[in-house]
């Protein structure tokens, strides 16, 4: 009985070790910024759906609804634009991917700055730190 058990156990061990001896290849990490963008797109869409639902359920005034919706829509537009420009240059992706690994930290900082705030009045892009819109001067929330 115990020989039988050893046999089963050992054959499992052999089975799990086998892949180590097969001809091998490596996989390439997915491009991180693309994932981040897809994330953002998801988030904006979710936000718009929620906003519309909240409005339908009478949880916010029409005024608030219009303002917030406008800002979401322009954000969505920008995210989609970015995603499109990436799709058109898949080859660039590969290169970027490699660059990413080299200069990860620099890239991070840059992409941080890019997340901007949009003016609810005129739709102008402003820096996240900005308190007032640089074009029309409306207070940014």
């Amino acid at each position: 009985m115990s020989y039988f058990a050893y046999l089963i156990g050992l054959s499992f061990l052999v089975w799990i070790v086998l892949p180590l001896f097969k001809k091998d290849s490596t996989w390439i990490s997915l491009y991180m910024e693309a994932e981040e963008l897809a994330d953002k797109k998801q988030r904006v869409y979710g936000n718009i759906a929620d906003l519309e639902f909240d409005f339908a359920m009478g949880r916010l005034s029409e005024e608030d609804f219009k303002i917030i919706r406008q800002s979401f829509l322009s954000e969505a537009g920008r995210v989609i634009e970015k995603l499109e420009s990436q799709k058109s240059s898949k080859l660039m992706d590969r290169i970027k991917n490699d660059l990413e690994h080299l200069g990860k930290k620099k890239k991070k900082k840059k992409s941080k700055k890019r997340t901007a705030v949009f003016c609810t009045e005129c739709g102008t892009e402003n820096l996240t730190e900005a308190k007032f819109c640089m074009k029309c001067g409306k207070e940014l929330s």
Partner: protein, 660 residues
């Protein structure tokens, strides 16, 4: 068969070590072969553990009393069903069950992601395999269920086979106890999956919501199993322990509550991350704490560090758990600190009166509840460390803190969903809250008029009323809007509405379940009880009820002998039912056991316990409790289960545009 089981279980150790190492190597080198090996390792671990479990089951069912575990947890006369479930009656067996569930989950995760998530998977498998290594060390080397039985013959220890086993602890011979441990264990172990993905995200730096989406169902399932497991434990205590209640803030109960509290907090806070890109560190911390608290819960139950009615005395597992836990804490904490810069929030809080702010306060309350329960549970250890005296804090201390926190959370349950994301104006606030608030005030007045004076109970009923109102309004309003747009009838509209966003409406259903359960908890404020010594023909009162003792019956079967008191129960001179509490004596284990009899309605439970016989043996002592609303707790739990299942359904997509 014992050899077979033992050897196969032993193989789990090298297999899981191999899996952990190849997984780690795969993560670093990104080589497919290594990842494939790690994946196969997860499958193999599952296979050998399954075979070991089957071997133990074979030993249990065939009553092989040369094995210590079999001899101390079963006997010949035990019904087959209980022989099978004796797998988790003792602690060696439950540890094996734990280990087995870990390997099942690892294999499932490995299979689900065999073609995707290549970046995260190596580390996910690494974390899960490390957990497996730990549990394999425990069940192979420290508390092995295949241990043979030894007896001291003069000076030498010799193997021997017992003539009959000790039998299953009578307290465990109850259906709720049969499913409670596996359900709870699935809840505990399930927390390893979100944890593994969180750690993988931290290591790889892929900190977006990818890991959250991947583990959403796992987190929800785990949460549901934990909740149901905790309540089954309560149900078992209620019908089996015979002290008339279901929750006593016992350390082992608290241990199961802790990961539930943190994972409930997580299920809410994760929505802020999805909508606003905030609380990233916090969500990580919650997932990590849930896993560590699950391990801690097992540790608390198995080590006997804090004595408890469950009393699984010191078993030598303590140090092993302590080491594993501290390693886990240090490892995850340093990862969090390492990544803290990448986990910065994308947006900021905008208004104190908004949905996200509601979630934030919900999380604060859950955190405080977790700390309070942890503090109270560990207080004997903490106080001994600092004052030298082991001081236990009793249930009143827990109630004093947890009732206000619980009610505040319940209030948020009703208020939160009425708030809009980002900002809610005063005007809309009045519109959404006006009627429910007014309704609750009137409701309090009515209850007061009916003579309810307990402040907490009034508060709890009022809040329950408020929350229930808002939930019903959510469903009705949503359905009406949909009806107008789609032309469906009201009920179809409500169904379609909830199927289109199962997470939201499943959540509401769970909220409604919580309300029902809170009504049940509040019933505790009105419990009454009486104790009487009765002989045949005697009667006594409890509230409007009169109990008349008919006979005392003595019976006997293979497993136990019993003594039953048969009583008639009258309300306003009308016979309602007979109620027959029983006392049993199990032969194999030489243990007495109390079988309570419960007459249960939605309104209240009448709960009778035969607590013993007086000295001359002519009369019995019977204790009767009148517990209002207890059934609400079980009904609530049932609704909660349904809500959880509903929330896991995929959202229905409509081809036609313009639904909502």
């Amino acid at each position: 068969m014992a050899d077979l089981g033992n050897i196969l279980l032993f193989f789990l150790f090298p297999v899981s070590v191999f899996t952990a190492l190849t997984a780690l190597a795969a993560g670093i080198t990104k080589r497919r072969g290594l990842l494939e090996a790690a994946r196969r390792g997860a499958y193999a671990a599952f296979a050998v553990t399954t075979l070991a479990v089957l071997a133990l089951e074979y030993l249990l069912v065939t009553s092989d009393f040369s094995i210590e575990y079999v001899a101390s947890n079963t006997n010949f006369a035990l019904p087959l069903f209980y022989k099978i479930v004796a797998l988790w009656a003792g602690h060696n067996g439950s540890l094996l069950l734990w280990t087995w569930i870990v390997t099942i989950f690892s294999a499932i995760v490995a299979y689900q992601h065999r073609h995707k998530n290549n970046d995260l998977m190596p580390y996910v498998l690494f974390v899960m395999a490390t957990t497996m290594v730990f549990f394999s060390i425990l069940s192979v080397f420290i508390s092995n269920p295949f241990q043979t039985l030894y007896q001291d013959f003069g000076n030498t220890l010799q193997e021997f086979t017992a003539r009959d086993g000790h039998g299953l602890n009578p307290l465990l011979q109850h259906p709720a106890m049969v499913i409670h441990p596996p359900v709870l264990f699935i809840g505990y172990v399930g927390s390893v999956v979100p944890f593994a993905f969180a750690i993988a995200a931290l290591i790889t730096g892929k900190l977006g919501s990818g890991w959250i989406h991947t583990t959403r169902r796992w987190a929800l399932t785990t949460w549901g199993f934990l909740a149901v497991g905790i309540i089954l434990g309560g149900k078992w205590a209620y019908v089996e322990l015979g002290w008339g209640g279901y929750w006593a803030w016992d350390p082992v109960e608290n241990a199961s509550l802790l990961p539930w509290l943190t994972s409930t907090a997580y299920l809410h806070s994760v929505m802020i991350q999805e909508r606003k890109g905030m609380l990233k560190i916090w969500n990580m911390a919650l997932v990590i704490s849930t896993y560590l608290l699950a391990i801690f819960g097992t540790f608390l139950t198995r080590s006997g560090i804090v004595s408890s009615v469950h009393a699984f005395a010191n078993s030598g597992l303590g140090p092993a758990f302590a080491v594993f836990l501290s390693m886990g804490i240090i490892f995850s904490l340093s990862l969090l600190i390492y990544r803290r810069k990448d986990l910065k929030p994308d947006e900021e809080m905008e208004s104190l009166v908004s949905r996200e702010s509601g979630f934030l306060f919900n999380n604060l309350l859950f955190l405080l509840a977790t700390i309070a329960v942890l503090w109270g549970t560990m207080f004997p250890v903490i106080s001994e460390l600092f004052t030298g005296d082991q001081i236990t804090v009793g249930p009143p201390w827990f109630n004093n803190i947890m009732i206000p926190i619980g009610l505040a959370l319940l209030l948020l349950t009703g208020a939160g969903p009425l708030l809009a994301w980002r900002h809610t104006s005063v005007e809309t606030l009045k519109r959404s809250f006006g009627w429910p608030t007014l309704g609750s005030i009137i409701f309090i007045a009515i209850l007061f008029a009916f003579g309810i004076r307990d402040g907490w109970a009034l508060g709890s009923f009022a809040i329950s009323f408020f929350v229930m109102w808002t939930i019903v309004v959510e469903f009705v309003k949503g359905a009406n809007i949909r009806k107008k747009n789609s032309g469906e009838n009201f009920f179809l509209a409500m169904y379609m509405l909830s199927r289109k966003n199962t997470r939201r409406y499943g959540g509401y259903l769970i909220h409604a379940a919580m309300v029902v359960m809170f009504v049940g908890f509040t019933g505790n404020a009105f419990n009454t009880e009486t104790r009487a010594e009765v002989g045949e023909g005697d009667s006594f009162q409890l509230g409007p009820y009169t109990f008349k003792a008919l006979t005392i019956i003595d019976e006997q079967n293979d497993n136990y002998s019993s003594q039953t008191l048969e009583m008639e129960m009258y309300r306003d001179n009308r016979l309602i039912d007979t109620i027959s509490p029983q006392k049993r004596f199990y032969f194999a284990s030489e243990q007495p056991s109390t079988e309570v009899d419960i007459y249960s309605t939605i309104r209240e439970d009448i709960y009778a316990v035969l607590s013993g016989m007086n000295n001359d043996g002519t009369k019995v002592i019977v204790q009767v409790y009148r517990n209002p609303f207890v059934s609400m707790v079980w009904i609530g739990a049932f609704i909660m289960g349904i809500g959880t299942l509903f929330a896991m359904l995929p959202n229905l997509r409509e081809s036609k545009a313009g639904g909502e």
